[in-house]
């Protein structure tokens, strides 16, 4: 019983960690690349797509998102979706807020913490 609970929560934490890693790396890549509208104005749609797919940070982010997808499938095979979905979504929102503040140096002010808090509670309630 304890081993199964430990496995479930390890998987949930793993899914959330991979989601946060993927989203933060993707956001970092897109920030480095710059505004798509400006790139499109200079080098067209092809140039914008090329800028994204040739970014190593974007590649790593996509890899983390792919691993997150497979980890999620495994987690759903060992635990119920009614626990996994809200738990991973909530942990991902909170983890994203911390990671964005630490790694992307985003200004996560009171307004953004409050918004993240409301969303986390809302997601948990939606799972009822």
């Amino acid at each position: 019983m304890i081993a199964s609970t430990l496995l479930t929560w390890s998987c949930i934490l793993g899914v959330a960690a991979l989601a946060v890693t993927g989203e933060v790396l993707t956001a970092a890549a897109l920030r480095k690349i710059g505004d798509f509208d400006e790139i499109r104005a200079v080098s067209g749609m092809r140039g914008a797509i090329l800028a994204v797919v040739s970014s190593p940070i974007f590649f790593l982010g996509s890899l983390a998102m792919m691993l997150n997808f497979f980890m999620m499938l495994y987690t759903l095979s060992v635990a119920e979706v009614s626990l996994v979905a809200p738990a991973t979504a909530s942990l991902t929102y909170i983890g994203n807020a911390f990671a964005a503040k630490i790694f992307l140096h985003e200004n996560v002010d009171r307004r953004r913490w409050l918004a993240a808090g409301f969303v986390v509670v809302g997601v948990i309630l939606l799972a009822h």
Binding site: L104, E106, N107
Partner: protein
């Protein structure tokens, strides 16, 4: 530089919210028509690609990813998070009014909470000002 959104950027945010949630609902509707696929009959999954709802769902999710990447090129990740969460609200409303599923009082409360979260973010700046990029604006909003 205020980093307020232009109408076209609001349209991208609305597309992020709609494409993910409507895409997921299309996939769910399509898989209900395809039926249960177990591990011994994974070949049935290929049959799912002939279903128009599944194809529509996949097209919408590709559209979501393109819109999400576009939005990340001019907005903070923490600004976009509530916008993507609004998709849960749209899925819940579609399941209530299109698929005629029952929504409990807790789910309605969850919808209200997420709408509040999105409301908090909607009027704020979309992008953090960085001193290296915008020297004149350094420290603003911190």
């Amino acid at each position: 530089m205020s980093h307020r959104l232009k109408p076209a950027q609001y349209a991208i945010l609305v597309a992020v919210m709609l494409t993910a949630s409507v895409g997921d609902t299309f996939l769910s509707h399509g898989m209900n028509q395809v039926g249960v696929v177990d591990v011994h009959h994974l070949g049935l999954l290929f049959g799912a690609f002939k279903n128009v709802w599944i194809l529509g769902g996949i097209a919408l999710l590709i559209g979501f990813f393109a819109c999400y990447l576009t939005a990340l090129s001019w907005a903070d990740l923490t600004f976009l998070m509530p916008a993507t969460a609004f998709g849960y609200v749209i899925v819940a409303l579609l399941s209530r009014f299109w698929l005629h599923e029952h929504l409990s009082i807790w789910r309605w409360l969850g919808i209200v909470m997420i709408v509040c979260g999105v409301g908090f973010m909607a009027n704020g700046p979309s992008r953090t000002e960085h001193p290296k990029l915008d020297v004149m604006d350094s420290g603003v909003g911190r």
